[in-house]
């Protein structure tokens, strides 16, 4: 009804300009808005979506967008705080892994001459590969979980092509649900992470991997996780966990071997069947240890004590990096969501205000029309 009134008044607008009284002038100038907006409206529809709904619906939508914005903003802040904690955990773990690598390096040098056989370094022809897939526990973090799962899928396809058997050890709720829905992918074990990865969780994974490898059920263990590069960048990577072997050696049997050689701090490998440590980036000065280091026990026993520690710390680091990447991904996803919500809210309020104005104007026009009819 107001609409018909409006068109009537718009068409008779020239006549209005002289007949209208002063008191109405202030209301009339806003009334011109609808006629103006009708022109820019179609052009706007190309940039933003056209919104068709009543005033009440608009108000509800604005409220809901406002709530969503609050939630996403809170999630972003929480993720930011957690990223800091995750980073702290990585920093706290650094002295351990650094001195561990240093010790391994030293001991390895001493053991060069002795002929030792350590189960974890045994390179066998690969028949079956275990993939440890580290995902997050929760969604709303952009493509984080998807990326790592896609990486796992492509790796599985590669292994299939090579005619190799495989099994998956899934860590994290998202990965668990994904693999549960696909029963044709053999999964050895489902593990769930907690808010902050601890040595205990890493131990659980390490134990599993260790027993699989030592019992010769699998001949190679690969760790798929998301490497934390920076707050805005993280890469899903594949890291060969076992056997601790030189790069390239397993490739002969396996075809493709994607070692996480890219900017890895330290990597323990073996050269000619002996343990070596590769230091790719930083070479912490190896404190000159007395060359006459005695071994309290058999070298084999000492390596037996050391290698599980090494395995453990590698897994723990992967978990920590994965968590840090997840949080960073969530942070940026939520920051984008907040931006979008702000934008949406702005457009919605503009539409709402315009509609409201149109309604008021329509009512005034009705009154004026009524008054005019009486005169």
């Amino acid at each position: 009804m107001s609409c018909s009134n409006l068109t009537m008044w718009v068409s008779s607008k020239p006549s209005l300009s002289d007949t209208s009284s002063l008191s109405f002038r202030s209301f009339i100038s806003p009334f011109q808005l609808p006629s103006q907006s009708s022109a820019p409206n179609p052009s706007r529809s190309s940039s933003a979506t056209q919104i068709h709904c009543g005033l009440r619906e608009l108000r509800e939508r604005i409220d809901s967008v406002k709530n969503t914005q609050k939630i996403t903003e809170a999630m972003k802040l929480v993720a930011a705080a957690k990223v800091r904690r995750a980073q702290e955990a990585v920093v706290n773990g650094r002295p351990f892994s650094e001195s561990l690598v240093e010790v391994l390096y030293n001991i390895n040098e001493q053991l060069q001459t002795e002929d030792i056989d350590v189960p974890l370094t045994k390179v066998r022809p690969v028949k079956k590969v275990a993939l440890v897939v580290v995902t997050g526990d929760r969604g709303l973090c952009g493509g984080f979980n998807n990326n790592i799962i896609k990486k796992a899928e492509s790796r599985i396809a590669e292994l299939k092509e090579l005619g190799l058997d495989y099994t998956v050890i899934s860590v994290g709720k998202k990965g668990n649900t994904y693999f549960l829905r696909r029963p044709y992918i053999p999964v050895d074990r489902f593990l769930e992470g907690t808010s902050l990865p601890t040595a205990k969780e890493a131990q659980a994974i390490a134990d599993d991997v260790f027993s699989l490898f030592v019992s010769e059920e699998v001949d190679k263990v690969e760790l798929l996780y998301t490497k934390f590069v920076s707050l805005v960048k993280s890469d899903p990577v594949i890291h060969t966990l076992l056997p601790l072997s030189p790069r390239g050696e397993i490739c002969d049997i396996n075809g493709v071997c994607v070692d996480a050689a890219e900017d890895e701090f330290f990597r323990l490998t073996t050269k000619e069947g002996k343990l070596t440590v590769e230091r790719d980036v930083v070479r912490t000065e190896t404190a000159d240890f007395s060359p006459i280091l005695q071994f309290e026990q058999d070298p084999v026993q000492i390596l037996d004590a050391l290698l599980p520690l090494y395995l453990n710390s590698q897994i723990l680091r992967a978990l920590q990096e994965s968590l840090a990447s997840e949080l960073a991904a969530r942070m940026s996803a939520m920051s984008n969501a907040t931006d979008n919500a702000v934008e949406l809210r702005r457009t919605l309020s503009i539409v709402y205000n315009r509609e409201r104005q149109a309604k008021i104007t329509g009512e005034i026009l009705e009154i004026v029309a009524g008054a005019n009819a009486l005169v």
Binding site: A89, F96, I107, A202, A287, L293, I302, L306, L309
Partner: protein, 133 residues
């Protein structure tokens, strides 16, 4: 000559300061380390570590790992370490009882090994508390 002790776990640095003497339980029995000890490398068993600061003895429960001694610098790398004073006695005692019960219930080789390990961990924690009092 001062002796420096550094106990590291994957999560954190548990101890990093000067000590007078330590007694460490290794795979081949307990060893005492005083300043100017010969450089050795040893595997560390699940057991307690005693630390002497001046005239005071502290204990710590170590959950297996590795130690390197040399240059008056002791580095102990372990899966987990807890200071005796940080362990809740009641909780530790309960854990010990649970571990004992589990061992009695254990069937098969693997379970027995696991239960035994758990029991040793629990016992070490209880020992670490009792050594103080």
């Amino acid at each position: 000559m001062t002796l420096n002790l550094c106990v590291l776990t994957p999560n954190r640095i548990v101890w990093d300061s000067e000590v007078k003497e330590i007694i460490l339980s290794t795979n081949s029995g307990q060893i005492g380390v005083l300043p100017n000890h010969a450089p050795i490398a040893t595997a560390v068993d699940i057991g307690i570590l005693r630390i002497r600061l001046n005239d005071q003895w502290l204990t710590m429960a170590l959950m297996g790992g590795f130690a390197r001694i040399g240059n008056n610098e002791i580095t102990i790398l372990v899966n987990d370490a807890e200071k005796g004073s940080d362990i809740d006695p009641q909780e530790a005692q309960q854990a010990l009882e649970i571990a004992e019960a589990n061992l009695r219930k254990a069937e098969g080789k693997r379970q027995t090994i696991e239960a035994n390990l758990a029991l040793r961990r629990a016992r070490t924690r209880v020992e670490a508390i009792n050594a103080i009092s």
